[in-house]
Amino acid sequence: MEAYLDNAATTRCSERACRLMADLLTRDFGNPSSLHMKGVEAECYIEEAKKKIAKTLRVPEKELIFTSGGTESNNLAILGTAMANQRAGKHIITTGIEHPSVANPMHALEELGFSVTYLGVDQDGQISLEELEQAVTDETILVSMMHVNNEIGAIEPIEAAARIIRTKNPGTVIHADGIQSYGKLRVYPERMGLDLFSASGHKLHGPKGIGFLWKRDKIKVKPLLLGGGQQKGMRSGTENVPAIAGLGEAAWEMHRHLEENLDHLYGLKEHFVEGLSGLEQVCVNGKTGQESAPHIVSASFAGVRSEVLLHALENKQIYVSAGSACASNKPTKSRTLTEIGLKPELLDSTIRFSFSVHTTQEELDYTLQCLQELIPDLRRYSRK
């Protein structure tokens, strides 16, 4: 049996999206900026995708900017806001558990003279609203935080945070990194009081190389890419029409089945967490019920190195991540796990299991059974 449990890294592309994309690469391949029929046709596909995505978020269509993916969306949101608003102040707030595509733009801004406050999190990976309230000043131009943490699945209280920020400084731009939440949770960024919201296509059964940034109309953001002025100048470059259409299709599918998906995923999560707690010396990190993301389970296996466990599971055709896949090529310690106060000896013993709508209970039972078999052996041979 094969069990792909690395859906927070990437997901299998939806077949409807694939078929649509194939048509757009070969048949309706026009450039949306062309004045002739072929161009108009291509433009229609973009409009169609926008309409679908806008509906899932309940935002105006014209407020969507397509990008090359989550990293670009986050970069555009953070660097673009900082550059456009630096006269109003040079203070930014974020959290200590952000993805590198948020953390590194922040470091770049610090080098340019911005000051950045990094909010701590509790053992469940959630920020403290009091700490946030104290951090916001008249100088704060931007608050950027993740909606769902990619490593442990914590959900941040972004709606409450937005209210607090608005009260203290109505001018502050509020960005949420929704790469792990869009398509998995109900997200209505406008109603939640956000100004910017990033999402990525391949995390929700869309294609890779596509994502979007929702930007509230009045918010000033400076574009990162300059060129032909596509997408109202916010993101030059010929639109990736097939991927945009694929993303629209995938997002719509996820949205249409959201209720049943949530039931399915929370059911799986509960079952899996229960199974894990039956194993010796295994602890699940963060919250696990409906207060957490439905598709991510982080667990620490005392005395087992995560990379070794990962490869042992791989031999059983079970595919997982050690910490976060985006950072797993480097032997650096996970910041999220450090921030939630995980014991140092468990940092290198933590595995992330992440589910999708295709994941079945049988796959999880098989995984639990393999874990039960493998762990005693792996514990026996540890580095002395």
Partner: protein
């Protein structure tokens, strides 16, 4: 446009009656290295020299130069212009036209070096030198003759055809692969072993390799990295048979039974044994390792003594007197460095002790190994039976 290359080979030329064997091998190796290059080539031996002629209408000059630059046995090679003998004036015109193309500034010091192999040519070598020099000076007034350190050495060889060349591109030297048997390289994912393989192969030795992997402690990527390294070495050595041996169970068994600080040294003894097994199977006449005295605990004189003891074949350690930086320099030259430093764990480091023995005692180690008596033979046999062999080509 150059249509031929003159191949210069050094020490093969002085071999006695076996000379033709070496030359023929060199020709084979040149042909082999040119196979992936766009274009068709004829490699031929003529009057004690080797020529590569381009036979297709077009070819990739850059790739040809790169391929020839990797053939062991080639000391240097010269892109060559071959012309019919149509009289000295016509020859001078050709030389001048070509020089003008190669050195558009027309401002260089030069020397003409003529060789008259065909003795019925009306001018002798000295006269050709003088007359051609004069013609060049006439054509390019800014040039000057420098017989000691010329910037451009214009070589003119009068044979049945006339060869004109001035550029000499260095080759790797050494001896053509296949002229000196075959050896088994213990290939890890590190910096040293690919360099060791390169250096032995440079002396004409064909290479096979053994890699020990330890799933799940080492990853598929670590194995892929070793295949990639073998491929880079194969650009010089020709095809490599790579034996991938699953070492996990042996390693865990040693871990369980033997003192922890001796783990690495005992592991390495079994690695040598296994490599020797595959060496015998492949008809190798020696083992090659990337060891260098004192680099790590397992490469002290005492440790080398203890690991060497299990082998009956000679173990060649071409890096034995090299410092790390010297090894890195070669690995950068042969372009294995970038791959070698990819950060995947190899089987030597996963269970390594904090303080491994640096001065192991052979008798002591043998005594520790007795604790393995019960199962080790069976595990070694399984490792042999389950090894995977991959044919790696550049």
């Amino acid at each position: 446009m150059y249509r031929s290359f003159l191949i210069k080979y050094g020490e093969i030329g002085v071999k006695g009656k076996n000379r033709y064997i070496f030359e023929n091998l060199l020709i084979d190796q040149i042909r082999f290295s040119l196979r992936p290059v766009e274009g068709t080539f004829d490699v031929r031996k003529e009057q004690g020299r080797i020529y590569v002629d381009v036979t297709s209408e077009t070819y990739d000059y850059e790739d040809t130069v790169e391929a020839l630059g990797r053939v062991f046995g080639v000391v240097a090679f010269c892109p060559l212009l071959q012309v019919e003998d149509e009289g000295f004036d016509r020859l001078a015109e050709t030389v001048i036209a070509q020089l003008a193309e190669a050195y558009p500034a027309k401002n260089f010091s030069f020397k003409v070096n003529a060789r008259r192999a065909r003795k019925d040519y009306p001018k002798d070598s000295m006269t050709i030198n003088a007359d051609m020099g004069e013609k060049i000076l006439e054509a390019f007034p800014d040039c000057r003759v420098d017989v000691h350190h010329p910037q451009v050495l214009v070589c003119i060889e009068i044979r049945s055809l006339i060869n004109i060349y001035w550029e000499e591109i260095p080759g790797p030297g050494g001896m053509p692969v296949g002229s000196n048997g075959r050896a088994m390289l213990l290939l890890s994912g590190g910096i040293d072993s690919p360099v060791a393989g390169y250096m032995v192969s440079k002396r004409g030795v064909a290479i096979d390799a053994t890699y020990f992997h330890a799933p799940p402690y080492t990853s598929e990527r670590a194995k892929q990295k070793v295949v990639d390294l073998a491929r880079l070495v194969a650009r010089y050595s020709g095809p490599i048979r790579l034996h991938v041996v699953n070492f996990t169970d042996i390693q865990l068994y040693i871990y369980e039974k033997c003192p922890h600080e001796e783990l690495t040294i005992i592991m390495r003894r079994y690695m040598m044994k296994l490599a020797e097994h595959f060496a015998q199977e492949d008809g190798c006449m020696g083992l090659i390792t990337g060891e260098s005295i004192g680099q790590v605990a397992s490469q002290t004189m005492q440790s080398l003594y203890v690991t060497n003891e299990v082998c009956t074949m000679p173990v060649y350690r071409p890096l034995i007197g090299f410092d790390k930086q010297e090894i890195v320099d070669v690995s950068e030259k042969i372009e294995t460095y970038e791959t070698s430093i990819l950060p995947y764990e190899d089987c030597c480091t996963i269970f390594v002790a904090k303080h491994p023995v640096t001065k192991p005692n052979l008798e002591h180690i043998k005594k520790s190994e007795q604790k393995l008596a019960e199962k080790i033979e069976e595990l070694v046999q399984t490792a042999i039976d389950t090894a995977e062999t991959i044919r790696v080509e550049a």
